[in-house]
């Protein structure tokens, strides 16, 4: 880069008298270097990302795909037996897989929908002129900064059957103790609570940033037209946030599809079963159980690729929806 700027300075200062051939060649060489620099430097600068992506993203992705076509055990990762698509076809009749898929979907819905709605509300509140607004903005982000492990451990205690605080509070209201971990819906609700708690603030800040980019005159003219706060929110804020909302939907959906840490740790020390009835075993957890508990790398890889394909489908659906929405508005 520095050589480039030097080259720019030199010709400008040069006198206008006719050039001797050596000087011409020198200049020619310089400007060639300069052109190359401008042309290739950006690639060099972005290269580290792509190198890391190739090493830690693309290669594992492709290798997992290769492994998914084999029977491989963690006890002998180099002995691969070709089984074709069997690891995929067996998923169709694998009730643990379908159970995990169903759980992932239900936990995804009951964690993502409230999470984004609450985030929108919180962002709307934070958008007002507030005393100590910086404090509140940092405060909503703190759950995001806590580790999953620490947070989940606390939630396990909160949702404890015998000595949990949630059951204590319910008891004060006269309701019987709930065995949160053993019920299908109760355990999924509890896991979703952790997700909602952790990610709401993060999404709220994204919404807030987008809200601050909305030109104030839109609100002014809406107010002049007699729109109430709620109408302003519905007809100015939400439409302006549409791209952001779509973005958070995509990111949250990806997160929900890969939900892993929370349900794993919600099970305490009892491994990746997701409860005695697999009632909160997500796809990520089932993948982990097959790969790192049962040691079947091939089967785990097939689950990983299935998850990836599901994400691509969701991505495509999202793209179609956003295109339809855009057409609708224009």
């Amino acid at each position: 880069m520095t050589s480039g700027t030097g080259a720019v300075g030199a010709p400008a200062a040069a006198p206008a008298d006719p050039l001797d051939p050596a000087e011409a060649r020198r200049r020619e060489r310089r400007s060639r270097w300069y052109r190359r620099d401008v042309r290739w430097s950006p690639y060099a600068l972005v290269a580290p990302f792509f190198l890391f992506f190739a090493a830690f993203g693309l290669f594992p992705l492709l290798y997992t795909g290769w492994a998914s076509l084999h029977q491989v055990e963690l006890t002998a990762p180099n002995e691969m037996h070709w089984v074709g698509l069997r690891n995929f076809s067996r998923l169709l009749s694998d009730e643990f897989f379908w159970n995990a898929l169903r759980n992932t979907f239900t936990i995804g819905v009951i964690s993502t929908v409230p999470q984004l709605l609450i985030a929108l509300g919180v962002a709307h509140l934070l958008h007002f002129k507030l005393r100590g607004s910086m404090f509140f903005r940092v405060a909503v982000l703190t759950p995001y900064a806590t580790s999953v492990a620490a947070a989940t451990l606390v939630f396990v205690l909160l949702f404890g059957r015998d000595y949990g605080m949630v059951n204590w509070a319910l008891g004060q209201l006269g309701w019987g103790p709930v065995d949160w971990q053993n019920g299908t819906w109760t355990s999924q609700f509890a896991v979703s609570t952790i997700v909602v708690w952790r990610w709401t603030g993060y999404n709220a800040l994204i919404y807030l940033a987008a809200m601050q980019a909305i030109p104030p005159d839109l609100y002014e003219s809406a107010a002049l037209d007699g729109a109430s706060r709620w109408q302003q929110f519905r007809h100015v804020t939400v439409p302006s946030l549409r791209p952001t909302i779509l973005f958070t939907c995509v990111v949250s959906t990806i997160g929900a599809t890969q939900l892993f840490g929370e349900p794993l740790l919600f099970n305490g020390g009892a491994g990746a079963t997701g409860g005695s009835d697999h009632q909160f075993q997500t796809l990520g957890l089932y993948l982990y159980e097959q790969g790192w508990v049962n040691l079947h790398l091939g089967r785990a890889s097939a689950i990983a690729w299935t998850m990836f394909l599901i994400l691509l489908l969701i991505g495509a659906a999202n793209w179609l929806i956003s295109r339809a929405l855009r057409k609708e508005t224009t």
Partner: protein
């Protein structure tokens, strides 16, 4: 905006795919991060020389609070061998430690010079990884006859290579609360308590019925049905595999009997419906909600931690109905290590009777070296927290009465699914024993199918 997006339609799809892939891999990375509770795993492989110039650094990879370091054994060895420096890496839970160990063995890198292996994994390690491990049977200082024969046999391959040296074992007793027993009208003296159920797990169940009839409010006889299951299966020679290495848990009468007895505890309402090693189980110790628990030697320290000051003088330990074993570990030396000879020497020293006695004295891990049982540190050992119980004698007797158990590569998976799926459904969800058994079998079938 619109024009541009139209023009770049296909590009956007591609971009979306890349973004999805990227997001997927990134999030997967984060998730892994949250999941593993590694306390400290630098993963440093066998290193060259340490700070002291020509000193050789040996690394020991363990899981949990293994005790070797805590008992001061490394320091003692370094004092004896000034040219050796010992470093330890530890991963909190075996379920995270073991897959990593397999990965490292498979790739031949990232290994410590000595690695610990849990007894539930030793059959698989011996069967599939022996080629990547050193034969420790003929190392200088290793005395086969010092070990319990079954412990020695568990880490010995069919062609006679001994790839692991036993550290501790888990002979079991029954830990019980004297105050709760007194309140329920049961004897409290440990010999009398032992006689209550001597020789038969059904008598343990009968004692439970007696306890229940006059139980102090809010307490149960035993912590969990799966704890009873683990204790009973730990005492039979054939468990999940037969001598030919075939999976036989479905038809093995010993397993069936253990299952029936343990589920009776649940169906008769004698359990506190807890799951072991969960926060709620710890709270049960702290609040004294159950009167007995099957306790291997290594669990005494755990109970002392969790029951704390409030439980002091209330706990005692009696002999179990039948001798049985739960848990224990081995040390192996990977062939990929740089200092195999020194590592083997260290492993031999760490598992020698005198050091095992020290480990028992300091940490409560019961020796697998029977030569240690005669040492005063073991034979005279009493546990102050458990009313001065002669734990050296109680556990030595259980250890010597335990039959040689046939282990199999997937013992852990079978045991886990029987306990955490099947028995837990019966105990906590009130399912019938048949429904629980079927659920466990289904999960095990799926888990064993490659």
């Amino acid at each position: 905006m619109r024009i541009r997006t139209r023009k770049r339609g296909p590009v956007r799809v591609a971009a979306l795919a890349v973004v999805a892939a990227l997001g997927a891999s990134l999030l997967a990375g984060c998730a892994d991060d949250g999941g593993s509770l590694d306390s400290a795993s630098s993963g440093s492989s066998s290193g060259g020389s340490g700070g002291g110039g020509t000193r050789t650094t040996l690394t020991v990879g363990v899981f949990g609070a293994f005790g070797l370091k805590e008992a001061g054994l490394y320091d003692a060895y370094m004092k004896l061998h000034p040219d050796i420096e010992i470093k330890q890496t530890s991963i909190e839970r075996n379920e995270n430690y073991y897959p990593q160990l397999l990965t490292h063995l498979g790739s031949g890198s990232g290994l410590a010079d000595i690695q610990a292996v849990e007894v539930n994994n030793i059959a698989e390690v011996t069967a599939t990884q022996a080629g990547r491990l050193e034969d420790l049977g003929k190392v200088k200082g290793v005395d086969k006859d010092a070990f319990l024969p079954w412990k020695w046999g568990q880490a010995t391959t069919k062609d006679g290579r001994t790839v692991g040296l036993g550290t501790d074992i888990g002979p079991q007793g029954i830990c019980y609360r004297k105050d709760l027993f007194a309140a329920a009208g049961l004897p409290t003296d440990r010999d009398a308590v032992g006689k209550l159920w001597a020789g038969d797990w059904q008598k343990y169940l009968a004692a439970g019925e007696r306890y229940k009839a006059k139980a102090p409010k809010g307490t149960a006889f035993v912590d969990s049905a799966s704890g009873v299951m683990a204790a009973i299966t730990g005492g039979s020679a054939t468990r999940y595999y037969d001598g030919d290495g075939k999976v036989v848990y479905k038809s093995n009468p010993a397993v069936k009997e253990a299952w029936d007895t343990a589920t009776s505890f649940a169906t008769h309402g004698l359990t506190a419906k807890l799951q072991q090693f969960q926060p709620s189980w710890d709270q049960g110790f702290a609040n004294g909600t159950f009167a007995t628990v099957s306790c291997p030697a290594w669990m005494l320290g755990y109970i002392q931690d969790k029951a704390g000051e409030a439980g002091k003088g209330k706990w005692d330990v009696a002999a179990a109905p039948k001798p049985s074993n739960w848990g224990g570990s081995f040390l192996v030396v990977p062939s990929a290590g740089k200092h195999r000879a020194q590592a083997a020497e260290l492993a031999a020293w760490l598992t020698a009777p005198a050091q095992q006695a020290t480990l028992f004295e300091k940490r409560g891990s019961f020796p697998s070296a029977r030569a240690a049982y005669a040492l005063p540190a073991v034979s005279g050992a009493q546990h102050a927290y458990f009313g001065g119980a002669p734990i050296g004698k109680i556990f030595a007797k259980a250890a010597e009465g335990t039959p040689v158990q046939i282990l199999g590569p997937k013992d852990l998976i079978i045991a886990q699914n029987l306990a955490d799926v099947g028995m837990l459904q019966v105990d906590q969800k009130g399912r019938s024993p048949e429904a629980g058994w079927n659920a466990a079998v289904k999960a095990i079938d799926n888990a064993l199918d490659q």
